[in-house]
Amino acid sequence: MVRRIRALGLTLPLLAFLLAAFIIPVLLFLWQGVHDDTYARYMPHSTPVLEAWDGVSEPTEAMYEALQKDLVQARKDKTIGKVATRVNRESPGGRSLFTSTARKAARLEAPYKQAMIDLKPAWGRLETWQALRVAAARYTPAYLATSVDLKYRGDGSIRRQEEKRRIHLTLFWRTIEISALVTIFCLLLGYPVAYLLSNLPARRSNLLLILVLLPFWTSILVRTTAWIAILQGNGVLNDLFVAFGVIGDDNRFSMVYNRTGTLVAMTHILLPFMILPLYAVMRTIPKAYVQAAHSLGANGWVAFWRVYFPQTLAGVGAGVVLVFILATGYYITPALVGGQDGQMISNLIDFHMRRSLNWPLAAAMGFVLLVLVMFLYWLYDRVSGIDRMRLG
């Protein structure tokens, strides 16, 4: 018991570090995906009125009055911009509707309904108010819905996003597809390498191991841009093909700025993550087993498939899970060499983080990705058993 407490004490600094630097920030960030009180905080009068409204009946004079009061105040407090940005996400054009109405709100007179509709006809439309109702809710499924191509509407219903705006499911699916392909390529390429490493004399295998590790010490950007130089239309590989007459000068292969580029570069970058666990497991397999199989009459293939391969499964599992999960989160490489059909969901998350500043939507998409990966992990566990996995 004392020993266990002592052991726990030793891991405490790491646990505290993980909690403070990783788990809590991640949770706080994910929280943004369902909680957004921008509107409620700065528009205190209209928020309760909007919450009480059923979302389908004609907006009443009292609603317009509360909104007018808020607009005047928000303009005075200079918070109108934040509110307008929030509303714009639910209703395109809502930003200028808010800022321009707020500019004149102090001069409006009762009845406010008529005054505001005269000012901007958009105030007479039910959709405008439904968008406000969505914006006013502190806890909202709107971002989560968006990240799976659904639209949460002001009347409380959830429908499919209209067709020309559907993007997220396609990207999630593509992310899985690319990750799976990269994992398969890594396995096919990495397995023989790991086998070779584990069967060579120590001196030569150590040298080869350093070659496997070498890319780890090179920046991921350098490795990716190197692939551009190799694969592009006037790149090394195409030049070679042309020089050897494999292809004509005017129909060079396009191997970069598309999915091929993403697959090649990602496979190269993630390959060590497959080789290392495989190598660790293969090294522990006694050679005698395969020799025994041979002496009992198995040919090369049977000895490999029935005797050797099953013993490496633990390493295969570890490598596959490692590479697949790392691949789902890749965004630098696809962004550089992916063109348009090699983009993954993390590129869109990155877009919303850095470009559109729609952090709640980024958080919601991150949450969906996390759930997806955990589900696949669970599925893997059910099928093959995680406790059989070995990292060496």
Partner: protein, 358 residues
């Protein structure tokens, strides 16, 4: 592009440890553009005030600014922003508000408000240059050369890959003009759903042949490498490739989209007073004219435009015809409507991104 994000992260750590009181951190777009600002503004201002300027590069957007302001740990003083970011940043409370009274008047006494181009003085941002997105081509690869925006969309006349910036901005505008919409009616058409549909249909016609770029340094490189036969580009980058590096690139000004680039002060910046002093200095017409001798972006002040002379390295190369605001270049120009884009950018980005992966 991500590389600049990484450089930024590295530079950011560096700046956080080396910046001391009285050092002004100015963040701009890098490359030839930052070079022109360094020569025209940073060096003379440092010489006259004795303060240091730490220059950093970024690739646009407000994410870094938002992160700094939200964390209450602002290390950037001034950031060079596009119109849309100036508006969004002001709305979100990420940028300091300006009093235009700090701006110096023109040499002949005209007030700054009258001397600056329309809309170049914003609530939180002061215009510095007029830049333009138009398309360029490699002279050694295309003959006869393309001349109109229709040529850019004409796959029969000019087969081959085109480069376009990966954003709906500018692309929707030029697609409509190529489809026959007069340049001055572009935004009226874009305000309707049918107009947007029409633009996407036009873009559809060349989609298979487009290579999407993200940072300004890419188009000249892609053109020189022959990866694309023509590409939309920032005019200053093409000019730099042509004037400084001797590359055979040329611009087609038809349906160019003009926009203003701005100085903005980050909310809660460590050196607000110094920052304002710098912006005042950088807004003097004579200094603006110096910048235009380094890069082909036009000053936003009318009085500065009159002072523009030759390229700094070649007295025979007059800058005038290379500026987006040159009368011949302006015939079919479109002024970027930042209000329209601030309202519709989310919606159109969504649709554009969905269209890209269709």
């Amino acid at each position: 592009m991500k590389s600049s994000a990484f450089l930024y992260a590295a530079g950011f750590c560096l700046a956080a440890t080396t910046a001391s009181a009285g050092d002004l951190t100015i963040v701009s777009w890098g490359g030839a553009y930052t070079k022109s600002q360094t020569e025209a503004y940073y060096k003379p201002w440092m010489a006259s005030t004795g303060h240091r300027i730490l220059s950093e590069d970024y690739s646009g957007g407000l994410a870094e600014v938002k992160a700094q302001v939200q964390a209450g740990n602002v290390t950037w003083d001034i950031v060079d922003v596009e119109d849309a970011e100036a508006i969004l940043g002001c709305d979100e409370g990420l940028l300091e508000e300006f009093d235009p009274a700090i701006l110096p008047p023109a040499p002949d006494g005209t007030s700054a408000e009258e001397d600056f181009l329309k809309d170049a003085i914003g609530d939180c941002a002061i215009g510095t240059v007029v830049w333009s997105t138009a398309y360029a081509y490699n002279q050694t690869r295309l003959s006869p050369p393309p001349a109109t925006i229709r040529d850019f969309f004409d796959l029969e006349k000019f087969p081959g890959r085109r480069g376009m910036r990966k954003t709906p901005k500018v692309n929707l505008e030029i697609a409509l003009v190529a489809d026959g919409v007069p340049p001055d009616q572009v935004y009226e058409v874009m305000a309707t759903e049918e107009g947007i549909d029409r633009a996407f249909v036009k873009l559809d016609s060349i989609r298979e042949h487009v290579l999407w770029w993200e940072v300004g340094a890419q188009p000249p490189q892609l053109l020189v490498d022959g990866e694309v036969i023509m590409s939309t580009a920032y005019n200053g980058r093409i000019f730099n490739a042509f004037a400084a590096e001797g590359q055979p690139l040329a611009m087609v000004w038809d349906a160019q989209v003009l926009a203003v680039d701005n100085w903005a002060v980050v909310k809660g910046a460590p050196n607000i007073e110094l920052a304002l002093d710098f912006i005042r200095f950088a807004s003097m017409p004579e200094n603006m004219a110096v910048q235009a001798s380094w890069i082909s972006y036009a000053p936003v002040r009318k009085s500065a435009s009159e002072l523009v002379g030759s390229y700094h390295a070649d007295p025979d190369l007059k800058m005038g015809p290379h500026l987006p605001t040159w009368p011949d270049n302006m015939k079919t120009a479109i002024w970027h409507d930042e209000e329209f884009w601030a309202d519709h950018i989310d919606e159109l980005n969504e649709r554009f991104n969905a269209w890209l992966i269709e």
